[in-house]
Every structure is written in structure tokens, then in C-alpha cells.
């Protein structure tokens, strides 16, 4: 029993130590981030080094983080919300947790289709969801567009990631915005019989399967392809920019907004502006091989080597508005 006593005492002491709330210092910005620690911490560290302003952040999943922000309301400690996918940003704006930001700097740095028409959020990096193919089995001339992947010539040769990933939901949402529901449903349906195997749970698995010869074409985010190429330059996979004669490649963003009840709104806006600047955009781009949202900034050399491409300039907020429709459509089409 003695050990039990001692254990209990120790645990209680420990408890009293860690229950003491931490005090918030001045000159800080507090960030809720659905973008992972390893992808944002380098940026914040650079910012602190440059300006002396501290950035406190907590990471989490988009959905629960948004619920938390909303439930905390005017008492929230968060000054800024960073998240991936336009759908999530649109949803945050819809729930009224973001503030309008009027900033010449941001308007100049971030193209109009990559930010909220209302100024509640701004894209900071561009994620191109594009086609990849096995160079041993496919010639680039065989490829045209996302829609064409439903062509019977791809029967048993296509790999797709799960429809549960928001990237695919956004892709389909943007198609709905362009073609309407019936035509989009027909396109999505036409992909299914072409699948070489069950849909994958992430882009990496898909690329690995393609490298191993399980399938010949697939749809992935370009930076996953970039990471693979960096590690294994010899992999027989190449990137193809589809829909160049039409609307362009589907792009999504990761982005940020200042919260409505920010305790340090000025400081948050400064950080946001800095994140759109050359220096930060370079860091953004290099850390993950995404494309900078600021068109004046060059992408990582490897990403640049994939060539210039035309990207879809419909405002990315459409992806948010139509996401629920897209999810239901994919369920109906039997896309798991």
C-alpha cells in the first residue's frame, strides 16, 4: 500500500504543478493551425527572429478546431486561424469566426481568386491537384484532362485516392461549379470502372503503387510527387498538367484569416501580411514544394522544373460552397 500512497502523492504534486495556467505575454500572436507543426513552425521562428514578436500556436484538425473557435466566441485566445483547403476557410467565414481584413499589401500579394471576395481569408500557398503517369507505359500525348480519365482506354489503369479526402471533394466541387451536377456525376461515374485497385487512403500510397506498376495514371497533389522525386529521382513517374486548353489545373490553397475576436488584431494582420511577403513565401514554398500564392515569388527549383501551367482561376471559395454537394455526388457515383 505504501507504494500506492507515494504514487498518489507524486501524481498530485505533479498535477498541481501543471495546472497553473500560463500567462500570456504581450507582443505575441496566438494561432490556431490546421497546418502541421513541421510546416509552420519554421515560418513562425523566422518571424520571431525578424520582428521579436512571439507566435504561440496550437495545431489540430480543421473540423474540431473550428468548433472550438466558434464555441469560445469572444473569449477565444486565438488571433489567427491557419488551415488547409479552401473549403475549410470558406466554412470558417460562413460561421462568422473570421474578421474582414483590409490590407493593400495582401491585395497586392495574393491574386483575387485565391482569397475571399470579402477579405476574410487569404491563400498563402497553392496546391495543384494534377495528373501523374507512369512514363514507361503512358505518353503525355495520351493525356488530356481529368474528365478524360473516364475514357475506356484507361480501363484497369487508373489509381485514385479516397473520396473522403477533402482534396478530391474540392476537385469534384469545382467540377460541379463548372459543369453542373448531372454532367459531373457522369464524369465521376466514368472513373470508377477504370480503377486498377481499391482507392488509396493517401497520395503517397498511390504514388508508390504507380511506381510498382499497379496502375498507369492517377490524380495527386503535386508536392507529394515532388517529395517522392526528391528522395527517388529515378522513379518512372512524371507530372502532367491537364485541362490546359480549357479551364486549367485544379488548385487548392492553404490559407489564413484573422479571427473576429482577436485580442491582438493588429499584430495578427502584420503576421498575415508578412506571410504573403517574398521571404515568407519562399519559406512556404521550399518547406513543402507547394506553389507560392504570391505570383512574384518563384517556386522551389524542382517544382519549377515541372513547367509553367495554367491554373483554374474560379475563386476557390466555390469549393467550400459546393463541398457537401460533391460528397453526396461521389457517394451516389459509388466513388468510395
Amino acid at each position: 500500500m505504501k507504494q500506492l500512497h507515494r504514487l498518489a502523492l507524486g501524481a498530485l504534486l505533479l498535477g498541481s504543478l501543471i495546472l497553473v495556467p500560463t500567462v500570456q505575454a504581450a507582443g505575441t500572436v496566438v494561432v490556431y493551425s490546421a497546418r502541421n507543426e513541421q510546416l509552420i513552425k519554421p515560418l513562425f521562428d523566422a518571424y520571431t527572429k525578424e520582428t521579436g514578436v512571439k507566435v504561440k500556436f496550437v495545431t489540430g484538425k480543421e473540423g474540431p478546431l473550428l468548433e472550438r473557435l466558434q464555441a469560445e466566441g469572444d473569449k477565444t485566445p486565438a488571433d489567427m486561424l491557419i488551415t488547409v483547403d479552401a473549403g475549410n476557410l470558406w466554412q470558417a467565414a460562413e460561421r462568422g469566426v473570421l474578421a474582414k481584413v483590409n490590407s493593400k499589401v495582401l491585395e497586392e500579394n495574393i491574386p483575387a481568386h485565391l482569397r475571399d471576395p470579402d477579405g476574410q481569408w487569404y491563400g498563402l500557398s497553392v496546391r495543384a491537384r494534377t495528373i501523374v503517369y507512369n512514363t514507361k507505359k503512358v505518353k503525355p500525348a495520351d493525356l488530356v484532362s481529368y474528365e478524360d480519365l473516364g475514357n475506356p482506354k484507361w480501363k484497369g489503369r487508373l489509381c485514385l485516392r479516397s473520396s473522403k479526402k477533402v482534396y478530391n471533394q474540392s476537385l469534384v466541387a469545382m467540377m460541379i461549379s463548372r459543369y453542373g451536377e448531372p454532367k459531373t456525376e457522369a464524369i465521376v461515374k466514368s472513373w470508377i470502372p477504370n480503377l486498377a485497385t481499391d482507392v488509396f487512403s493517401d497520395d503517397e500510397n498511390l504514388l508508390d503503387a504507380m511506381a510498382a506498376g499497379q496502375c498507369d495514371v492517377g490524380i495527386v497533389n503535386s508536392y507529394y510527387f515532388g517529395r517522392l522525386k526528391k528522395k527517388h529521382p529515378e522513379t518512372p513517374i512524371a507530372i502532367f498538367w491537364p485541362n490546359q486548353n480549357e479551364n486549367g489545373v485544379h488548385v487548392n490553397i492553404s490559407g489564413a484569416g484573422v479571427t473576429r475576436h482577436a485580442k491582438h488584431p493588429e499584430a495578427a494582420m502584420k503576421l498575415l501580411e508578412w506571410l504573403s511577403s517574398d521571404k515568407a513565401q519562399n519559406l512556404f514554398a521550399d518547406s513543402n514544394m507547394e506553389f507560392p500564392a504570391n505570383p512574384k515569388v518563384k517556386p522551389d527549383p524542382l517544382a519549377a522544373s515541372w513547367g509553367e501551367f495554367k491554373h483554374d482561376t474560379v475563386n476557390v471559395s466555390e469549393a467550400g460552397k459546393l463541398q457537401a454537394k460533391a460528397v453526396m455526388l461521389m457517394d451516389r457515383a459509388g466513388y468510395k
Binding site: 495546472l19 495556467p21 504561440k56 481499391d198 510498382a212
Partner: protein, 551 residues
Amino acid sequence: MFYPGSVDTQAVRPAWRVSDGGWWRVAALLIAVLVSMPVLMLLPAWLTPSSEVWRHLADTVLGELLRNTLVLLLGVGAGVLVLGVGLAWLTVMYEFPGRRVFEWALMLPLGIPAYVMAFVAVGLLDFSGPVQAALRAVFGQNGYWFPRIRSEGGVIAVMTLALYPYVYMLARSAFLSQGRTLMEAGRSLGLSPRAAFVRIALPMARPAIAAGVALALMETLADFGAVTIFNYDTFTTAIYKAWFGLFNLGAAAQLSTLLLLFVAVALYAERHWRGQSRYYAAGKPVQGHRHRLTGLRAAAACGFALSVLALAFIIPVGQLIFWLVSAGIEDLDAGYVEFVSHTVSLGLLAALFTVAAAVLLAYVRKQWPGRLMRAVTRLATLGYALPGAVLAVGIMLAFTRLDRQVDAFVQTVFGVSTGLLLSSSVAALLFAYLVRFLAVAHGPVESALERIKPSLQQAARSLGASHRELLWRVYLPILRPGLLSAALLVFVEVMKELPATLLLRPFDWDTLAIRIFELTSEGEWQRAALPALTLVLVGLLPVILLVRRKA
């Protein structure tokens, strides 16, 4: 002594005064109500209709989801029962080469989160994995057959391997503590060893085994990580789809309460089926000699234990080590000390609170077996079957609401704002663990308590012992193995826990599980090997400690 059937604690109740121990009941009731709060927070969701979501799900995927969930439950249930009980019986009753190592080593898979196990399995065995790559190198692209790993069988196998230790651990301590005398009595009355096992040992261990299987099944229902990696759609998938895909948290909450309803019915059915029979242990466990296996049978026993251990632990850990080596350990920095200390201190604190609450609940349930307490305890232990993120949001909502009321009160009385004190504090996090893992602690504690003879408490009470004395001086010492099992389980669970930690942790309170999540959600599996291995290592210590104390 061994009482099959008839004795009911209720029969001896009139010997005590009714008002006796009122505070105990109040305290237990209070805990139970508090713990059921987050679950109850989900109920108001039914007030807002989300018929569109429902119609959509019913029209398209719901049928398949229900079927999948059922098949998964049946498969995992059968799997953990066979592996858990079989291995426990083998290591308790027989002597074979390696038995001493297997005894504790078979618990090790507890330290590996199911989603890590799932990823390793897919990584190794899928088309692009090293196994099939080797086969292709020998037989050519299409010259061989290999089972699809991302399939129903695959997900059942992985979940079984990840979850069987619950049953193993609880069945083992039940077999150990029931002692050998009963078995020997049975044998002397002419039962064969198998008959003695089936007719004496199994029924006596049934509460413990049932508790273990229930834990494994509740975990299966709540799982999101492993099924996602296999892209196997279950009821939980529908909950997340409604929430993240269709932006409808209300519908997600409705689906969650339905899920709980199923669990409640299942648990009730099990209790009912168990009926009124009660089994009590015959005092001190007797460490008799083990039956020694020789020749082929010894080899078979050793081979069986070894292959389970290999599949559930050695191979996954080996793969993690391989990734660690190939990715390099550049990530290992001062931050890791912090991750480990956060992880361990949260685990210890949560284990302490949760086991204490479980003891209180189980004790009061035993002393005053009323309908109310029974219902409330059931409700309080349901949290485990809820998908973690849903439960976490329920807790977060409850705490922010409380915080805002405190703030408003202080504002009107003292004119200052307190801000949010509790939500996203360590206290909220510990409460979340209590809600989520009370079932984990409650199972072992209750099943241990159930095997204590009522004559013991009657004797103590007749000698004038108060409830405090009875609990502290009689029950706790007897219960200690059960309590340690419970504490260990909670500790390991808390270390692996993700959704609640992710949502409720204070700033700068990252744990190893968080680190794994951050890396894996961007597909950085090789870099995630370091925190995953650290997690396994930290989880090993209490397992070894526990086993050594028992030996």
C-alpha cells in the same frame, strides 16, 4: 468456497441501515453524472432536423456501413476471444519453452496504436510493399497470387492483433487469481483437463473475459485511424462524413447517439445473458505447478505464442526501426524530453483519477445495487465507444459553456473578465481522459470486485468496519492486481489517445501521439517512426513493472 448461482448480495442488505453511506452514493452519482455529461451534450442535436443528410446516407451508403461494422465487430470479437483466452490459458496452465518471456511479452502490443499497426501492415503487404516486390522479382508482374491486404480480412486481422491484449491481460489475471484448487477439485471428481477448463475455469473468468472483449469491441467501434488506412467504411466513417464532408455536426451527433444506443443494447444483452449467476474466488491464488508440455505439443505451444508475438509486435516494431534508421534520427532533439514528460505525466495523472473513480463507482454499485446506480454507471462507461473526436467536441462544448458562465458571473460581481479558464487546460484534458477511459478502468475493477466473496464484507461489517475501512483495508489489498491492470491500461490508452488531446491540450503541450499525428497526416511515415518507437518504449516500462510485481 464456490457459489454457483443463487447468492445475491441484495439478500444480505437489510442487515445495514438504509441511510448508511449516503455520501458514498452521492459521490458516485456525482461522478457518474459528470462523466455522462459529454454524452448527454449530444442529445440536443436531435432537436434540429438534418433529414437531408439522413436521406442521403440511407439512400447511398448506410446499408453497407452497417453491414461492414457488424462484420468487423464479429470478426474482431471472435479473433480477440480466441487469441486472448487461448494465450492466457496457455501461459497460466502450461510450462513450455519461452513461457516466462511470452507471459509478459504478449502484452507488449498494447503499446502500439492500432493505426500504426495498420499502416505497417499495409506498407509491408500491399502491392507496392517489399513482400510483393520480392515476389514480383521472382515470378514477374502477374505470375503470383497474393491476398488483398486492404480488405475486410486484412482490417479484421490487424484490429485483432492490436486489441487481443485486453482480453489476454484480463483473462490471465482472472485465471491466475481463481487459484488451482478448484480446478484440482474438478479433476479429482473425474473431469478431463479440457472439461475442467470449459466447466470451471472459463465460467469463473467470464466477467473478466467479457470485460476484455467489450473493451476491444468498443475500441473497434470508435476507431477511425485504422479503418481509414484500410479505407474500410464503418459507422464511424459516416459520423465523420456527416461532420467534415457535409459540415453537419448535428447529424454527426445524431449518428453518434445511435451508435451508443447499439452499444448500450449489446451490453445489456450480455448482462442479461450472464443472468443472476455469481462466481466467487476461493481466497488466495495458489501457485501450483504448471502442466509441462513436451515434444510436439511444446513446440506447437511455443510456435503459436511466437507467431502471435511476431505478427503483433516484433514485425511492426522491426519495421518502425527500419524506417527510423532509413530516415535518420535528426528529429531527436530537446523537444523529445518534453514530449515524453508530457505524455507520461498525463498518463499517470489520468490513470490515478480514472482508477479512483472506477473504484468508487464499482464499490458503490456493489454495496447498493440499485437500478439508478446501475443505469448511471452504464451511461458513464459508454464514452469509450464514441469516436474520439465527437466525444472531444462534446467535452469542449461543455467546458466552454461552463467557462463562459464563470466569466459572466465574475464579470458582474467583480467587474473583471476571467477569460476561458478550464477549456483547453490540463484539467479539461484529464476530464476528457476520465470520460473516455472510465470504461477501461471500470471493466477490470468491476470484474475483480465481483469475484470477492460476500462473506468477506459481511464479516468486516459485522466487526463494525466503516465503508472507508472496508474499502481501504479489505477490498483494496485484494483488488490490487486488478487495480494495477486497470491503471496500466488507462496509462497506455492515454499515451496513445489522439482526438481529445489534439483538441483540448493547452498551448505547448504536445505529446508523442500528437507528434505521430502531425507527421503521418502529411504522409511522413518514416519520420513518424521515432515518436512511435518512443511511445512503444515508454509503454513497455509499466508492462514490465506490472509483470514483475506479479511474478
